[in-house]
């Protein structure tokens, strides 16, 4: 018997985030042939419903209210719980994003349910759905299952492959009405610090700088390389502590944990603290003057050299290649 699974679609800058499509793919596995229902919450979100369907949702429920124009735990939990009450799901999947991390424990508490956070894989083993999730900041993994009927999981961005988009796929789109009562936390303002559109946790390519970058100015060639590759710029704790960049760019044990397809570490020594945040990247390139640097122990490819020489050359070479064979 398949399960009925709710998948929360997350919207940023008017678009669904990639992790939502990955969550639909995870939801399909959890459903084991059952129904996957996309859930969209916001002020005006129904225009995005077809995207969720084209990426694999069977139908979509929207909850729209002026009070839902920004995420708040109170507003979104009321909206999501209205859907839960209507549908009585046996599975729930969120992305393990700032929103997913914030909202999922509240929903789990309301449902008196277990919650498996930050899953990096979902597998069927017989009738059981087994999740893998990193522990000790990625230095180890655990395989974990839910003990009860309701399976609730958040999935780490960039780890579960989304399904192929099928533009011919169609499904029912309906709204769920809810009256949102008082919000106990109110967002007064949002200060955007992340300049580029590419979010570190979802980036396929990350170019990261360490102490070797030497100044905020020194991040410029890294930014250029990231732009050429359509990626994002990150940093080690050392670079943040030294004031070369904002802490929002920090990758490591404290800071963000990332798993891009390509991680280019520039002038980063490779302290355990940093490795915990990036060592599960699919391909790691290290560029460092010091041939003894620890980062070379986890790198797939290493260049011993001055990053200020190597990084611009790399940008040019990749540009040339992309121009010749896009």
């Amino acid at each position: 018997m398949g399960k009925k699974v709710l998948v929360l679609g997350e919207i940023r800058d008017g678009q669904l985030r990639n992790v939502s499509f990955e969550a639909v793919a995870a939801g399909k596995k959890v459903a084991q042939g059952g129904e996957v229902i996309g859930v969209l919450i916001g002020e005006s979100v129904s225009v995005l419903a077809n995207d969720l369907i084209q990426y694999g949702a069977d139908r979509v429920l929207t909850v729209e209210d002026a009070k839902l124009f920004q995420y708040t735990p109170d507003g979104y939990s009321q909206a999501f719980m209205a859907v839960v009450e209507q549908e009585q799901p046996e599975g729930i999947v969120f992305g393990h994003t700032a929103l997913g991390k914030d909202l999922s424990p509240k929903i789990a508490a309301k449902l008196n349910a277990g919650l498996i956070s930050d899953a990096t894989s979902v597998e069927e083993e017989g009738d059981t759905i087994v999740f893998t999730r990193p522990i000790y900041s990625g230095k180890a993994f655990e395989k974990i299952i839910g003990k009860e009927e309701l399976v609730f999981v958040t999935v780490r961005p960039n780890n579960i492959e989304s399904l192929e988009k099928d533009e011919l796929r169609s499904g029912d789109i309906a709204s769920v009405s809810v009256s949102i009562t008082d919000l106990r936390t109110v967002i007064q303002d949002v200060i955007r610090k992340v300049a580029s559109g590419v979010d570190l946790s979802e980036a396929k390519v990350i170019v990261a700088g360490g102490r070797g970058v030497k100044s905020d100015e020194g991040f410029k060639p890294l930014k250029k390389l990231a732009d050429v590759l359509g990626g994002a710029v990150g940093a080690s704790r050392g670079a943040c502590d030294a004031g070369y960049c904002d802490y929002s760019m920090q990758i490591g044990q404290t800071g963000k944990v990332v798993t891009p397809d390509l991680y280019i570490a520039c002038g980063i020594s490779g302290a355990i603290q940093h490795l915990a945040g990036m060592s599960n990247s699919k391909v790691i390139v290290a560029i460092n003057k010091d041939p003894e640097a620890n980062i070379f122990n986890v790198a797939d490819y290493g260049i011993v050299g001055d990053l200020f020489e190597v990084v611009p050359m790399l940008s040019e070479e990749i540009k040339r290649l992309k121009a010749a064979q896009p």
Partner: protein, 257 residues
């Protein structure tokens, strides 16, 4: 003001992880206050010093967590509570911990609860928001600043690098993010004083809880280490050649560009 901190004892961030008999090897490892909880302890002390009141640090765990609770007392917390589950529970999950804490808070007057935004060992980040939801108080996660004026609370929250400015009111639970403060080292007089501060020890029975009430909702089947990466390739030759080779490897061998 009644200020509470939820604290967890964890592995030192620099420890190498190994597995013995399906469990993370703890022998010989160094333990610390979970780094994000350390921000919570520091912030609690600063808020108490500015607004008066009392800071109580609560930990659910084993006897050994007493050491980290003493550390929090040495930093300046007033009281510590260890809810020792060692004899009662073989396994637990974030539901277990949250349920125990909520039961502890049931007869307490709470103005502010601070916790870390995530523990660096289990990494679920669930306990804080679960506790708030079960106590039916608001919560704000990953905070980098908090100002309290009467019962009005202004908070800055880190959202994947962006900052949200939030208004709420007491009682509230917050989880702490890096950048909130620089936790102090305990001073020698602080360490001496901590020895005389109260450290209460409770067991499930003291909270009228039975093992079944807090049974975990999830089950860990296996723990394993990531596959060892074979040593990478250090490229050779002049720099131009190395860069060309790297780009060609990234495209044809690694297939990532």
């Amino acid at each position: 003001m009644n200020i509470y901190v939820l604290m967890k004892r964890t592995f030192d961030t620099e420890e190498k992880i190994s597995i013995n008999g399906g469990q993370i090897e703890e022998d010989g490892a160094e333990f610390i206050i979970n780094p994000y909880d350390e921000y919570a302890v520091e912030e609690a002390i600063q808020i108490r010093d500015a607004h008066e009141g009392e800071v109580t640090v609560v930990s659910v765990g084993s006897e050994e967590a007493g050491k980290q609770l003493r550390m929090a007392l040495a930093m300046g917390a007033d009281k510590a509570v260890l809810i020792n589950t060692e004899d009662d529970l073989k396994e637990g999950d974030p539901f277990t911990t949250a349920k125990i804490l909520v039961q502890y808070f049931k007869d307490k007057e709470v103005d502010l609860i601070l916790a870390g935004n995530v523990a660096i060992d289990g990494g679920s980040g669930q306990v804080g928001p679960r506790v708030a939801a079960m106590l039916d108080i608001p919560y704000v996660t990953t905070i980098t600043n908090i100002d309290i004026d009467g019962s009005n609370v202004s908070i800055t929250r880190d959202v994947e690098g962006d900052s949200e400015m939030i208004k709420t009111s007491l009682p509230v639970l917050v989880t702490c993010q890096q950048g909130l403060n620089d936790p102090r080292y305990p001073s020698l007089p602080g360490i001496m004083k901590a020895k005389k501060k109260p450290l209460e020890e409770l067991e499930l029975a003291d909270l009228d809880l039975e093992e079944d009430d807090v049974e975990s909702k999830t089950k860990i089947l296996d723990i394993f280490l990531p596959p060892d990466k074979s040593a990478g390739r250090i490229l050779e030759g002049d720099l131009t050649h190395q860069v060309q080779e790297l780009v060609s490897l990234l495209r044809s061998e690694a297939k990532v560009i």
